[in-house]
């Protein structure tokens, strides 16, 4: 089914529905409307409490580090570009290009999450703002944490879609064992992502605290050896799983799945633009 028929697919009109809009796309739009209200309520909570700060509360300007957040905002925006490229690629039936774009989107998403882990750790340890010791901490961590969860779910979804793109076509000798391959592949990818996050965060903090770069790096290598090794094994596994194995069941007909995921991803980015403006930038006016 990955060969013929596909050429005539119109990605903007689905003749089987009353309106021509694919069901999945409509579902996603309606869900995003709902999600808008979720974030609306959370952002409102934060802003209301910023307008009525408790006496002696924390001053956000002394906590925030807008340089790092600007960088992660830029990265997240770029991930949206890669997501858009992935959608275009699969609409044209270019599976390979779609996979690379998905991987880059995942990569950028992970950088954003890494920055958030770093930022949260800094706020708690260096700036002494915890989720329970101040109203600002409560609203800030709950709001940005909820957004972080959305990004994490998005990364997981992207990862599973990437793995899904290797499902062998009917007739491919690999088709029989596709389920176990799929599970192992997905497990390896998620493990690789988590290990990378762990290793990079630990590298950053080691370098930050070490007197010189060399000392910090050798300390890092000796103490994180196991995790570095595991991460490398996981990456090797990913390369192995991605080797060419004949025809796959992933083509233009799956474009709507990638597109729905893309809608979600772009939405989460747009929400971040709002949060970045309302929570960070507004403090500097």
């Amino acid at each position: 089914m990955s060969t013929a028929a596909a050429a005539t697919i119109d990605h903007h009109h689905d003749p089987s529905t009353s309106t021509g809009i694919p069901n999945k796309k409509l579902l996603m739009w309606a869900f995003l409307a709902s999600d808008c209200m979720f974030f609306g309520a959370l952002i409102s909570t934060h802003l209301i409490y910023r307008l009525h700060p408790p006496a002696g509360g924390l001053e956000p300007k002394q906590v925030f580090a807008p340089e790092l957040t600007s960088f992660s905002t830029f990265i997240l925006l770029m991930s949206s570009l890669m997501m858009a490229l992935a959608v275009t690629a699969i609409q044209k039936g270019n599976v390979k290009s779609c996979r690379w774009s998905l991987l880059t989107t995942i990569f950028f998403g992970m950088i954003f999450l890494g920055c958030q882990v770093f930022e949260f750790t800094e706020f708690v340890e260096a700036k002494n703002m915890t989720i329970s010791n101040s109203l600002l901490g409560s609203t800030f961590f709950t709001l940005t944490g909820t957004h972080g969860c959305h990004v994490a779910i998005g990364v997981l979804w992207l990862s599973l879609m990437y793995v899904r793109s290797f499902k062998p076509a009917v007739g491919n000798p690999w088709a029989k064992s596709w389920l176990s391959h799929n599970l192992l592949h997905a497990g390896t990818l998620v493990a690789a992502l988590l290990l990378s996050l762990k290793v990079v965060i630990s590298l950053v903090f080691t370098l930050k605290e070490a007197p010189t770069f060399g000392e910090g790096f050798s300390y890092f290598l000796s103490h994180e050896f196991v995790f570095i090794a595991l991460a490398l094994i996981a990456y090797g596994g990913l390369v192995w799983f991605a080797r060419p194995r004949g025809a796959v069941q992933f083509d233009e007909t799956n474009a709507i799945d990638v597109e729905s995921m893309g809608l979600y991803w772009h939405f989460v980015d747009i929400v971040w633009i709002v949060i970045f403006t309302a929570v960070y930038l507004l403090e500097y006016i």
Partner: protein, 658 residues
Amino acid sequence: MDALAKPALLTKEEKAAAKPRLLAHPTAKTGLMSWLTTVDHKRIGFLYGFFALCFFLVGGFEALLIRTQLMVPNNNVLTAQQYNTMFTMHGTTMIFLAIMPMSAAFFNFIMPLQIGARDVAFPRLNAFSLWTFVAGAIILNIGWFLPTATHGAPDGGWFGYAPLTSRNFIPKHSIDYWVMGLQLLGVASIAASLNFIVTIINLRAPGMTMMRLPVFTWMTLVTSFLIVLSFPAITIALVELMMDRQFGTNFFEVSNGGMPILWQHLFWVFGHPEVYILILPAMGVISEILPTFSRKPLFGYPIVVFSGACIGFLGFGVWSHHMFTTGMGTVATAAFAMATMAIAVPTGVKIFNWIGTIWGGHIQLRTPMMFALGFVWMFMIGGLSGVMHSAAPADAQQQDSYFVIAHFHYVLIGGSLFALLAGIHYWFPLMFGRKVSEFWGKLSFWVIFVGFNVTFFPMHFLGLNGMPRRTFTYDSNMGWNTANFVSTMGAYVLGIGVFIYFAVMVYTYLKGERVGGDVWDGRTLEWSLPNPVPEYNYRVIPTVHARDAWWYEKHHQEEIKKEQSEHAKAEEAHGGIHMPFQSIWPLVTSLGVLIGAIGISALDSNPAPGIHIKLATTLIGGAVMFLGVYFWSLEGNEGYHIHLDENGNVVEGEHDHH
């Protein structure tokens, strides 16, 4: 329920599925597994209705206990603590576990039939909504069976005002059950509503334009939008309360700058649309029943639809009328008072349209019609006392008094419940192929009608005489004795009426008079179906030519017959009727949600090793949920095709790949 079970033929290739065992599609058409794996909107609707009625009886029993306690002054049938639990659970149960799922039952069963569809847009998501609703109901009620001192059923009132519900004031788990229970019910409602929105917008039969949709379907659409847009507000309020209770955040912690008024705003931004979520489906049911038994088309169809949508929009702009006494300031109070008065206009327009519908009609006073007429009258009384509340100075007197109790029971029982009871009578023949006896149906109506009014009308006077809501007893010298006694007697009569109603329903289900398809000589498409309704609903997808589609078909039989045989051939050429496979994964996903919610709500972090067990349970729940979703997506939305002969018998089934 043999009415809905229909064996489908599967070919050999399909049985010897060329797929991993784990992803083999369940095929049971009867027995427990067929219900646990069902994706048929009719079966899901039936299950929603079944659970809703069970919880309706539970909520009713709680109400009778409340009334028994208040029958005489200084009564001690219940302790103050038990009384708190009763009124909290009565309200929460009736709203979230009785009226809403009862409406959902009709959305599921009737709406796809009315638009000429073969199922909802996402059948498995529909099953997930059902099972998550059940999980939420379990969490909400689990406290009844656990020690009262540390757990207990929720006892903070149905709107759970923080910081009353914070750990400082209610340290036990009762509030955690309330928080997680409502959270799960919210997820279920939003998922179901997204499904209905896509179904109504995208799965309409050819010719079923938006302005030909039956009004019940229109109200399903408006209600679904209300749910999708208003539930997030309470979700976030509950998240904040949960964070306060579990992680010591300060959202409602006054000593660290938290503001209790925030909870009230977030809650009522949800809470007021919620009352329209409860009443709009009822208005839809009434708009179906009145024309059928008046033998006339609905009077002013576009106006009725527009008014419904208008109520939906305005419903988002009136929430602060629940908070007139909080000191919001003159401008806000005036604005919300004006908006509240404005919402009476589209509501009044609907009442006049219903009167216009029965005006000059050839009225048949059958049981559904009795309940529907009762609805119009009783809802109007509730609406009038509602308009009284919109005047902020008057509301300041009525706030938190029995006058408010009287008001919202007139709109919720006299309104929502009467309409749902009417709907059960109306669609019972379609669902079960049997009809309730007119005598017993009308008897139950009159007993319920009398009992309801005797219970709640005196409460207007009690409220104006100063009796506050939520107090578990009162002194004999307050002048409230007679009215309370009368009200309690009324409640017993109402209880007897409800008992008669359901006893008759059970009897009819088992032994009632058998009837054919179009028992009321209806107008909308669901009545065109044979009885029992086949799993695939329509042998040929109908083509809609008029607003009252089935009425038109009945009066243009030759033309329709010709058209249908042509369309049957065309559908056959396209591969027959597509049916979705059953699936276990929605149930597994909901099970994961349930386990996770138990971890969050029922387990203590201290003393050790509490936190580890709590964390483990929650993570296991999350993992089960994740696996459920993952296999759900791996399984794919495949289906099979069936082919029918002219009499609707299955001649052949075949597998297909999507």
